[in-house]
Amino acid sequence: MQYIIFLCIKNYIHKNIMYICPMYSSELIKGTLKTIVLKLLKEQGKMYGYEITQRVKELTNDKIQITEGALYPTLHLLEKNGEVETETEYIGKRVRKYYTITPKGNITVDLKVNEFVDFMNTMKFLLDVELKIANVQNNR
């Protein structure tokens, strides 16, 4: 009886995680923010801060929401490293800063994407993800 209750709870949690799709934790996003921003700039050309957050939100169905508190420090760092360039545009009283990727940034983004793919494969193996799916299938 207890076992059945346990299974029910487990199933419920599992469903929630799989289908409700909450936003990922900020720790998880932090490590990949540079990659996301650079990749986006590479594909989309020149963009400004707000645009980047909205675009990411759109592309991921709200699953990844970049916080402003993390985005701007990263943009400043990328600018200092020479991986992005900026141009400013006056909109009435305010200044808008557009970011574009530089050749150096293009090199970085390829490295970063490759690194991440490799990381994902390693994590899959390390966390036994495929094995678990196989287990579930066996149970059925």
């Binding site: 801060g49 645009e51 916080t67 993390a70 400043h76 490293n81 305010r94």
Partner: protein, 394 residues
Amino acid sequence: MYRITDEQIDFILDNIRANGIVIEDLQNNLLDHICCIVENEMTEGEDFYKFYERIVPRFFKKELKEIEEETTNLLTFKNYYAMKNTVKISGTISGILILLGAIFKTMHWPGAGIMIVLGGLFFSLVFLPLMIVLKFKDDESKTDKWVFAFGFLMAMGAATGIVFKVMHWPYANFLMRWSVTFFLFGYIPLYYFTRIRRAELKFNTTINTVLMMACGGMMYALFNLHPSTGLLGSINASYDFMNNNSTELVKANTTLFTKLSDKQEVKEFHQTSTQLFNKIADIKAHLIAKTDVIPIEKAKNLSLNELQSGNDNSMIRRIFENGTGEYSLAKLKSEIEVYNNKVKMLFPNQQEKIIAIEKLQLENTILSVLLQELSQIQLQIATTENSYLSSVKE
């Protein structure tokens, strides 16, 4: 779409500034971002200020300043890594250069000097200063930082001193002696007493202290190395031998000269020779008298082993090397020049009779060495005059 007004923009900017955002770029970025949110997400008829209050917390966990702190952290952290890399690279380069330089020096291969100098300077002027900076950036206790910085500073002094010593540059002894003294009696006790009470560091502290004491102490022992007594004895003997020979030759020359004194050119050369010979004798006596602080008469016939401060160089630097008076190097050089011209006329085919002043160690040296060199010139003068007088027919 809602259009934001100029007053609202001013309000946002003032608010951002008041909340501790200092970097202008960041101010502009945040301002534009907030304006975008207002324009895109605010519903018609909603109060701007209430909306602003509601959306600003999106930017931080506790306060807006975090975003500025995060930015500066990221930017300085990057420097930190660059510095760590420079430390690694400069450390490796200096290590390799010093090692290679030492091997080359022992084997007498060319390029040893430049390697040791570059390696040593890299070590003391790039590696160690960066270590100090890094130490200050690490979040250790304040006393530890200062103690280590002091130690590294003394190590810098000692390393520079050793490079200077190897290259025979001035102030090497000063640098080495004082750095090692402060290292031994300042840094090591500080290091020991600030760390020994911490249980987790006790073992390492004891070992490091003993190692540093041993190395520093041995360095100390190396400072005042004199040549062996055997070598010194031989040098003294050769000095006396040279002087005795010159005296004998001068006596013989005087006898020879009396027979030939009626010849004008013989008279002239004898005069020049005697003048220069006596001049050098005067310089020697004067330098000895000044350095050892004894009367001139006593200084005249002093042999090297009776000399008190043979290693001194301050007096000869002042009077001889950099002086302009009677006993200066400049004066001596001009008189040797005159003498050499005479010798060239008398012995047109005998280059070796000319006094080769550039081959002698007359500068950057100590008293005992200078005296040797001067005696050598005297002996040469006496010998040359002797062979001239012997060759002249009555």
